[in-house]
C-alpha cells in the first residue's frame, strides 16, 4: 500500500511537473505575461518590487491625501547615486501610495492606511521614443487604470521635469 501510494504520488508529481513545463513553454512562446499591462505602454507591475530599495518617501495633499514611497530597482538606484542622467534602459521606478491615516498610538503621526495606487515608470529608450524613453503604468489593486488616465502621464512629466530625465523623485539622503 505504502509503495503503491508512493508510486501514485510520483506519477502525480511527474504530471504536475510536465504541465508546469508546458505552461512555461506556452508563456514563453506567446512572449506575454500573465500580469495585466497598462494601456498605451504595456507596462506591468514588476515582480518583487516591494523588496526594492527606497528612493524617497513623499506626501500628497488633498484631494488624494496620500503618503507615498518610491522604490527603485538596482539600475535605478545606481543611476541616482552616480548622479547619471539619463537613466539607463532597464531602470524602473515604482511609486507606492496609501491613504494618509492618523496613527492611533501617536497623536502627531500619520501612517499608511489602505493602499491606493502603484505607479510604474520603465526606461526603454527604443520602446518608448515618443515619451522620453519612459513607459508608464498606473495600477489599482494590481489592475491598470484606463487609457485616458495613461494619456496624462507623460505630458505632466515633460512639462515639469524634462531636464531631470522626466523624473520627479530625487534620492533622499
Amino acid at each position: 500500500m505504502a509503495s503503491e501510494s508512493r508510486t501514485r504520488r510520483r506519477g502525480a508529481l511527474l504530471l504536475a511537473g510536465t504541465a508546469a513545463c508546458l505552461g512555461l513553454a506556452a508563456f514563453r512562446a506567446a512572449g506575454t505575461d500573465a500580469r495585466p499591462a497598462s494601456p498605451i505602454y504595456g507596462v506591468t507591475v514588476p515582480e518583487g518590487y516591494r523588496d526594492w530599495r527606497l528612493i524617497a518617501p513623499a506626501l500628497e495633499d488633498a484631494p488624494l491625501n496620500e503618503v507615498r514611497a518610491v522604490l527603485g530597482n538596482d539600475l535605478a538606484v545606481k543611476a541616482y547615486r552616480d548622479g547619471a542622467l539619463p537613466f539607463p534602459d532597464g531602470a524602473i521606478l515604482v511609486k507606492l501610495a496609501w491613504t494618509q491615516m492618523r496613527s492611533s498610538e501617536f497623536e502627531t503621526a500619520t501612517v499608511p492606511g489602505p493602499a491606493t495606487t502603484v505607479q510604474v515608470m520603465v526606461k526603454d529608450a527604443k520602446r518608448y521614443p515618443a515619451t522620453g524613453g519612459w513607459g508608464f503604468g498606473r495600477f489599482i489593486d494590481g489592475k491598470p487604470v484606463d487609457e485616458a488616465q495613461h494619456q496624462t502621464c507623460f505630458a505632466c512629466h515633460e512639462a515639469r521635469v524634462k531636464e531631470r530625465d522626466f523624473v520627479f523623485t530625487r534620492y533622499a539622503r
Copy 2:
C-alpha cells in the same frame, strides 16, 4: 620579471591580509566600533542600512514637520511578513527622517528636505532585558544625541505599543 612581480604582489597581498586580520583582532579584542554609539544602549548606526527594505513611510506633524521612512534588515522584514512577534534577536529597524519640503515642481506634493535624525532599534533580548529586549539609538549627523533624550525612548514605546513588541511601525502593504 613577470614571475618576480607576481611574487612581490603575492607578498604584498599576504602582508595586507595579515594586517587586516590583526586589525580585526584588535577591533574584536577591544569590543568597540569606530562608529559612535548611543548612550545607555551602545547602539550604532548599522552599516548599509540605506539599502535595507522599506517597512513603511510616515509623517510627523509640527513642531517636527518630518517625512519619514522606516527600513528594516532581513530579520526584521521576515518577522513582519510572518506576523511573528516578538522580533528575533538581530532584528534592526532604522527610521530615517527629513524635514518636510514643498515640492518646487508639483504644488500638492511634499518631499524630503534636509535629513534630521536617524533612529535605530536593535533587538537583543539578553543585552537589553530591562527595555523589552530593545536597544535604542538616536543620531543627528551620525552622532548620538544625549543621554537625557535616550532615557525617553523606552518609556514611550512601553506605554503605547507594548503589545506589539514595543514597535510602532507596521509593515505597509
